[in-house]
């Protein structure tokens, strides 16, 4: 088992998986978003070959108002 964090919330995974596989099973994540893994941007094209490791922090980034 590995522990990861999604937007600060702890999640336990039974085994290592790719970022792509993980995102597919998250009901709260849909629509337009970008992903940072351990504060570093991961391009959509790299989701399927980015393997999640213990203590990884995944941050979902959304559009917002800005000046």
């Amino acid at each position: 088992m590995i522990n990861i964090f999604l937007n600060g919330e702890a999640i336990i995974l039974e085994k290592h998986c790719t970022l792509g596989d993980f995102l597919k099973i998250q009901s709260k994540i849909s629509g337009n978003y970008a992903v940072a893994l351990n504060k570093k941007f991961i391009a959509r094209a790299d989701y399927e070959h980015t393997v999640l490791n213990n203590q990884d922090h995944i941050t979902i980034i959304r559009p917002m108002q800005g000046g």
Partner: protein, 261 residues
């Protein structure tokens, strides 16, 4: 029409999307401003958030060009990372590069800004750097590949107007081929007009509209002010003179020299 970074743009008014009383008022202000370009930003999704937010759903209906910013970044590496996320999120290589150096007046950290601009230009971004009015900084930003510069008129959100007209005039004169968009510090439509009369290519503002008593009406006021200033610049302002010149020819008027006889 105006060619900005290879896009044909009709308005020289770029409007920010933050701090409006409501999403409806924001959308109405954008529509009324007739802007083609709006600035947007990025945020972390909070745990209780559900999927897409209303802002994105509404804003994408307006057919505006998005200019995402790197607000909140203090280091070049953070700004680069944010720009990369923005490129994917908003499907654009345009980035309003903000790297803040001082929390009190939100003055850019010009050293980190230059570093980030150089990296992002090499990565294929069209960098719109939010910068000070320092000529040498602006020249260095051009040297690393920026085709557009966005010097401040005054600190962000201050509404103080043009603090250093000499510096801005110098930038315009020394960088005639660079698109210069004044970003930040504008409080009144008359200040936007003056900037455009000085030959600047555009104005970017947010707070002056969003914090007005009637943001939609103020968006219209800035729209007209920017058009007026640009038209005046294109028409050519008359030279200022120290002595009066009668606008009406006095020769042959009925009472010409009457008082001297």
């Amino acid at each position: 029409m105006w060619n900005l970074a290879d896009k044909i743009i009709s308005s020289r008014f770029i409007l920010g999307t933050a701090q409006y009383p409501s999403l409806d008022i924001l959308c109405d202000a954008i529509t009324e401003s007739k802007t083609n370009i709006i600035t947007v930003s990025l945020k972390k999704q909070l745990q209780h958030d559900q999927t897409e937010n209303g802002f994105w759903r509404e804003i994408k209906k307006l057919n505006s060009v998005f200019l995402p910013n790197t607000a909140g970044c203090h280091q070049a590496i953070d700004a680069v990372n944010t720009a990369e996320m923005a490129r994917e999120l908003f499907q654009t290589n345009w980035i309003k590069l903000e790297v803040i150096g001082d929390e009190y007046n939100l003055q850019p950290d010009i050293f980190e800004l230059l570093k980030a601009a150089e990296i992002l230009v090499k990565q294929g971004f069209e960098v719109f750097p939010y910068c000070t009015d320092d000529l040498v900084l602006c020249q260095r930003l051009v040297d690393v590949g920026c085709r557009i510069l966005m010097p401040w008129a005054a600190p962000i959100g201050s509404g103080k107007g043009i603090l250093n007209p000499y510096a801005l005039e110098t930038l315009r004169a020394r960088l005639p081929d660079i698109a210069l968009i004044i970003d930040a510090g504008i409080g009144k439509p008359s200040e936007a007009t003056r900037i455009m009369e000085m030959g600047f290519d555009g104005v970017l503002l947010n707070t002056a509209v969003s914090l007005a008593n009637h943001p939609v009406k103020m968006a219209a006021a800035f729209r007209d002010a920017i058009i007026a200033g640009r038209q005046a610049y294109e028409a050519g302002l008359m030279p200022e003179r120290n002595v009066a010149h009668p606008s009406t020819l006095l020769l042959d008027t009925p009472f010409w020299l009457q008082g001297t006889e």
